[in-house]
C-alpha cells in the first residue's frame, strides 16, 4: 500500500507540456491506459510542500533505494528529493497494460529532465542490454528500463503459459534445441524467459522508434479529463469481471462477456472530497434492459424509521424485481450467447417467463431495500470459569462476565403484498418446527421473533407493516416501530442522496471510529494508540459508493470520500493525515 502511495505521489507529480508527445509512445493496442495529469496535482500541493512531510520523504527514500537495487548503500540515498530522480515533473506520464496472445506488458512512460540524475538511480545489478542511437536499456529477469535523454520507459512482462504450450515451434524459430530429457514444455521455462527478453528488447526499440501519430485520435487520449488527476481508460471487455460482477450480482449471471464498449475511471482531488468516477457505455439494446431493471426507487417511508443519530453506515439497493425478471431471458441470452442456445436453455427460460408472473412477484418483493448499521455496542455476557482451593483438590465452577461487541442493525424492504409475506412467514414457522431446526420462529403480538440457537447474544425480529418488511435485532427499536415512535429526521441532503441512486453504500468514518474506540479492549488502550485513534477519528471523513441513475450513454458509478477538517483539498487531507499518524507512531508527536 505504502509503495503504491509513493508511486502515486511520484507519478502524480509529472506535468503536461509534452504530454501529447509521450502519448504517442503508448502502444496503440493497449487495453488499459492511465493518463497522469500533474499540473492538476501540483496545483493542489507543490513538490516543496510534499517534501516537508517526513512520511513522504521516508517513502521517497524507500523508492530510491529500491531503484538503486537492494545492495546499494542506503545511507547515501538519504535526503534525496523528487528532483534527484531525474524525472521531468513538467510533463505528463502514462501507465499502460498491453495484452497479446503470447505476453502481457506492463509499462510506465515518464519524461526526463536530468539524464545523469536518472542514470545515477539505476539498479547496479541490472545488466546493460542495449546502447545504440542514444538509447540505453538495462534489464533483470522480466524487467527492463530504457531511456534516452528525453524520456524513460519501465517495462515488465509476463508470458502466457498457453501460448508456449500451443506453439512449441516457437523454440525452433529462436534456434533453441529441443530438450529430449523432458517430453513437455514444463522444462522450458528458461527458454521462455530468453524469448520474452528478445521480445521485450524489440518492444523497447519500438518505443524509441517512429512515433505512433495515430494515438492522438485514440480513445484514451480523447477520454482523458484535464480536470482529473488521473484518467484511466480501458477497453470494455477488460473490465468485464470487475464491473459486471457488480451489476451481475443482482441477476446472478456469469462474467462471460460485457455489455459495454469502454470503461473510464477518473480520479479528482477536489476541495472537500476525493472522487473516483467511472462510466461505462452501453449499447441501445442493453440500455433499455438496464433502464427497465432500475425502474424503481427507494421507498420514502423508510425515512420515518431511520434516526439521524443512529446510523453509522447504510447500504441501499433499489432495482425493480419485475424489471429484472422480465429482462432476465434477454440478458442471459446476450451474455451466454451460443452456448446458451445450444443446450436449449433459451427455450427453458422463455417457458419460465410464461409460467412465472413477474408482476405478482414484484408486488411481494418490490426490489428496494436498505440495511442500516445503527450501533456497535458492548453487551455483557456470562461464562463459566474454574477456581481451585489452595491444595488444588477441589475445582469450583464460577460464573464471570465479559463484554462482547454486538452490532445493531435495521433492514427494511418494500412490499405491496403483506398477505403473501405473512404466508411465507407461516410456512417458515411450520418449516422450522417440522425440520426441528436449531432456531424457532415464533409469532408474537405484532411481530415475529427468531429465537437464536442457544447462546447467540440477540434475537432477530420481523415486523410487517406499512408496506415494509423490517428485520432487526434491537429490542428498543422494535418497540419504537410497534408504537410508531417518531425518530429524529434525517437531513434533506441525506434523504436526497438515499433516493438518488439505485445502489449506494455509505460509511461514516468518524462515527464508526468513535464507536470502535468506545468498545476497544483495555489491552489495546496504550497512550500512543489512543492518541492516534483520537487524531484519526477527528479527521477521517465519510465514504459513499453509488451508481447514478441511467445516463444518456450508459451507467456511471462514483466513489466519493468526503472530509470536513480544514485541509484545502483532498490530496493535502490524505497526505497530512497519514503523515501525522506516521509521526505519532514513531513517537515524534
Amino acid at each position: 500500500m505504502k509503495k503504491l502511495i509513493t508511486i502515486a505521489i511520484i507519478a502524480l507529480t509529472a506535468n503536461a507540456y509534452y504530454g501529447q508527445d509521450l502519448a504517442n509512445r503508448v502502444p496503440a493496442n493497449s487495453q488499459y491506459v492511465a493518463t497522469i495529469n500533474s499540473p492538476n496535482i501540483l496545483s493542489k500541493m507543490s513538490i516543496q510542500e510534499m517534501e516537508r512531510l517526513p512520511f513522504v520523504m521516508k517513502e521517497l527514500n524507500a523508492f530510491v533505494i529500491n531503484r538503486n537495487g537492494y545492495r546499494a548503500n542506503a545511507k547515501l540515498d538519504q535526503g534525496k528529493g523528487f528532483n534527484d530522480l531525474g524525472f521531468d515533473f513538467n510533463q505528463q506520464s502514462y501507465a499502460f497494460v498491453e495484452v497479446t496472445d503470447s505476453v502481457t506488458y506492463y509499462g510506465y512512460i515518464v519524461a526526463l529532465n536530468n539524464k545523469s540524475n536518472f542514470e545515477a538511480m539505476n539498479d547496479s545489478s541490472m545488466q546493460l542490454v542495449m546502447d545504440s542511437k542514444g538509447v540505453k536499456a538495462i534489464g533483470k529477469r522480466k524487467e527492463m528500463i530504457a531511456w534516452n535523454k528525453k524520456y524513460a520507459i519501465f517495462l515488465n512482462a509476463t508470458s502466457g503459459y498457453n501460448y508456449f504450450k500451443d506453439n512449441e515451434e516457437i523454440y525452433d524459430r529462436y534456434g533453441m534445441p529441443k530438450d529430449t530429457t523432458f517430453p513437455s514444455y514444463y522444462s522450458r521455462y528458461e527458454d521462455q524467459d530468453k524469448i520474452v527478453k528478445v521480445w521485450m528488447k524489440a518492444k523497447v526499440k519500438s518505443f524509441f522508434g517512429k512515433k505512433n501519430s495515430k494515438n492522438a485520435k485514440l480513445d484514451f487520449v480523447k477520454s482523458a479529463d484535464e480536470n482529473a488527476a488521473v484518467s484511466v481508460w480501458s477497453q470494455g471487455e477488460s473490465f468485464a469481471s470487475n464491473y459486471f460482477g457488480y451489476i451481475g450480482a443482482i441477476i446472478g449471471t456469469k462474467h462471460n462477456s460485457f455489455p459495454g464498449s469502454e470503461v473510464n475511471y477518473y480520479l479528482y482531488l477536489n476541495e472537500k472530497d476525493i472522487t473516483v468516477k467511472s462510466s461505462v457505455t452501453l449499447s441501445e439494446e442493453n440500455k433499455k434492459s438496464y433502464a427497465n431493471m432500475f425502474d424503481n426507487q427507494l421507498n420514502p417511508k423508510f425515512f420515518d424509521y431511520i434516526d439521524k443519530d443512529q446510523f453509522l453506515s447504510y447500504y441501499i439497493s433499489a432495482y425493480s424485481v419485475t424489471g429484472v425478471l422480465q429482462e432476465m431471458p434477454n440478458l442471459i441470452n446476450n451474455y451466454l450467447g451460443t452456448s446458451f442456445e445450444k443446450y436449449g436453455m433459451k427455450e427453458s427460460l422463455e417457458l419460465l417467463s410464461v409460467v412465472i408472473d413477474e408482476e405478482a412477484i414484484g408486488k411481494v418483493v418490490c426490489g428496494d431495500a436498505i440495511f442500516v448499521l445503527s450501533d456497535i455496542a458492548n453487551h455483557e455476557v456470562t461464562y463459566i470459569d474454574y477456581d481451585w482451593n489452595e491444595d488444588y483438590t477441589e475445582k469450583k465452577e464460577v460464573t464471570r462476565t465479559k463484554k462482547e461487541v454486538v452490532p445493531e442493525f435495521l433492514y427494511m424492504m418494500s412490499t405491496k403484498d403483506e398477505g403473501s409475506i405473512h404466508k411465507i412467514m407461516k410456512l417458515a414457522m411450520k418449516g422450522s418446527s417440522a425440520m426441528r431446526s436449531k432456531e424457532k420462529l415464533i409469532k408474537e403480538e405484532g411481530y415475529y421473533s427468531l429465537l437464536p440457537y442457544r447462546n447467540a447474544p440477540f434475537k432477530l425480529y420481523f415486523v410487517v407493516r406499512d408496506g415494509i418488511v423490517f428485520i432487526l435485532n434491537s429490542d428498543e427499536k422494535l418497540q419504537d416501530i410497534l408504537t410508531n415512535k417518531k425518530v429524529n429526521k434525517l437531513s434533506t441532503e441525506t434523504m436526497k442522496d438515499m433516493e438518488h441512486a439505485p445502489f449506494r453504500t455509505y460509511i461514516d468514518g468518524k462515527k464508526i471510529m468513535d464507536k470502535f474506540s468506545k468498545t476497544m479492549g483495555e489491552s489495546t488502550k496504550s497512550p500512543k494508540n489512543l492518541k492516534m485513534l483520537d487524531h484519526f477519528t477527528k479527521n477521517v471523513g465519510s465514504l459513499s459508493v453509488y451508481q447514478n441513475k441511467m445516463m444518456e450513454n450508459g451507467l456511471s458509478i462514483e466513489a466519493k470520500y468526503t472530509f470536513t477538517n480544514d485541509e484545502p483539498n483532498g490530496l493535502k487531507h490524505v497526505l497530512n493525515l497519514i503523515d501525522e499518524l506516521y509521526q505519532m507512531e514513531k513517537g515524534d508527536r
Binding site: 491444595d391 488444588y392 475445582k395 462482547e404 417458515a428 414457522m429 437464536p452 442457544r454
Partner: protein, 227 residues
C-alpha cells in the same frame, strides 16, 4: 424446502455479523490424581464457554472457511467414539463423558490402574484417526517415586502450521495441567509450575500461543519425597 429459505438466509446474516464482531477463547484442563498404589483418576475438561456466543453462531452455519461445521449430534457421536476407545483401553475404568452445549463445556474422566494406561489410550485414539501408524509415546509415567509428564507432543508438529494461522484466537487460550500426588514434592523441573499449599499437588498454566511457540511447556519431572 421453501419454508427453510428465509431462515437459512437469516442464519447467515446473524452468523456473519457475529463472527465479525466477536472473538473468543478457550481453556483445556488436564487433571491427574495418583494414589499411593499407583492407581488413580484422570480428567480432561475442554471449556469453550468464553466463546460460546461465537460458537453458537458458528453452529448455525454449514461451513466456516470452507470447512464443514459439525452438528450437535455429530459432535456427540465423535466424543462417544473417544469414550468407547477409552472403555476398550486396558487399565481404564468408569469412563464418564459429559457434554454441555449451553456453555460449550466437555469433560471426559476415568479411573486408571496406572498412569501409563493413558499413553495407551492416546495411542489408540491417534491411530483411530490416522491413516498411517503412529507409535506409542511416553506422555505420562510414574516410576520410582518420580512423576513425569512429557508434553513435547502436545501440539503435533504437523498441526502447528495450521494452528499458527489461527494464532490470534489462541492468544487467550489456556492449558491447565494439575497433578495430585500421593507424597509431598521434593523437586520439579518446570519453573512455571505452582506447588499447592499441602505440597502434594502441582498446577501449571500455559497460554496457547506460548505452547505453539515452544517457549513454555507443560513438561515436568517431579520427584517425590520418600516416605
Amino acid at each position: 424446502m421453501f419454508p427453510n429459505i428465509p431462515l437459512k438466509y437469516l442464519q447467515r446474516i446473524v452468523a456473519i455479523a457475529l463472527l465479525l464482531f466477536i472473538t473468543g477463547c478457550f481453556e483445556v484442563i488436564e487433571e491427574i490424581t495418583i494414589n499411593q498404589d499407583g492407581k488413580g483418576k484422570a480428567g480432561l475438561t475442554v471449556n469453550l464457554s468464553q466463546g460460546k456466543s461465537k460458537l453458537a453462531s458458528i453452529m448455525l452455519m454449514d461451513s466456516i472457511k470452507g470447512k464443514p461445521v459439525p452438528s450437535e449430534q455429530e459432535i456427540i457421536e465423535k466424543l462417544n467414539e473417544g469414550k468407547v476407545i477409552a472403555e476398550e483401553t486396558p487399565g481404564l475404568h468408569n469412563v464418564v463423558l459429559t457434554s454441555n452445549f449451553d456453555d460449550f463445556i466437555f469433560e471426559l474422566s476415568c479411573e486408571f490402574d496406572s498412569v501409563e494406561c493413558i499413553n495407551q489410550f492416546i495411542y489408540r485414539i491417534e491411530n483411530h484417526y490416522s491413516s498411517r501408524h503412529i507409535p506409542e509415546k511416553n506422555l505420562f509415567s510414574f516410576q520410582n517415586n518420580t512423576y513425569f509428564r512429557n508434553a513435547d507432543y502436545l501440539i503435533p508438529n504437523k498441526h502447528k502450521k495450521e494452528i499458527a494461522a489461527e494464532k490470534k484466537g489462541l492468544l487467550s487460550a489456556k492449558y491447565v495441567s494439575i497433578v495430585r500426588l500421593p507424597q509431598e514434592v521434593e523437586s520439579m523441573t518446570n519453573e512455571k509450575a505452582n506447588l499447592a499449599k499441602n505440597k502434594k499437588a502441582i498446577m501449571l498454566k500455559v497460554s496457547g500461543d506460548k505452547l505453539l511457540e515452544n517457549t513454555h511447556s507443560v513438561t515436568n519431572k517431579v520427584k517425590l519425597k520418600t516416605q
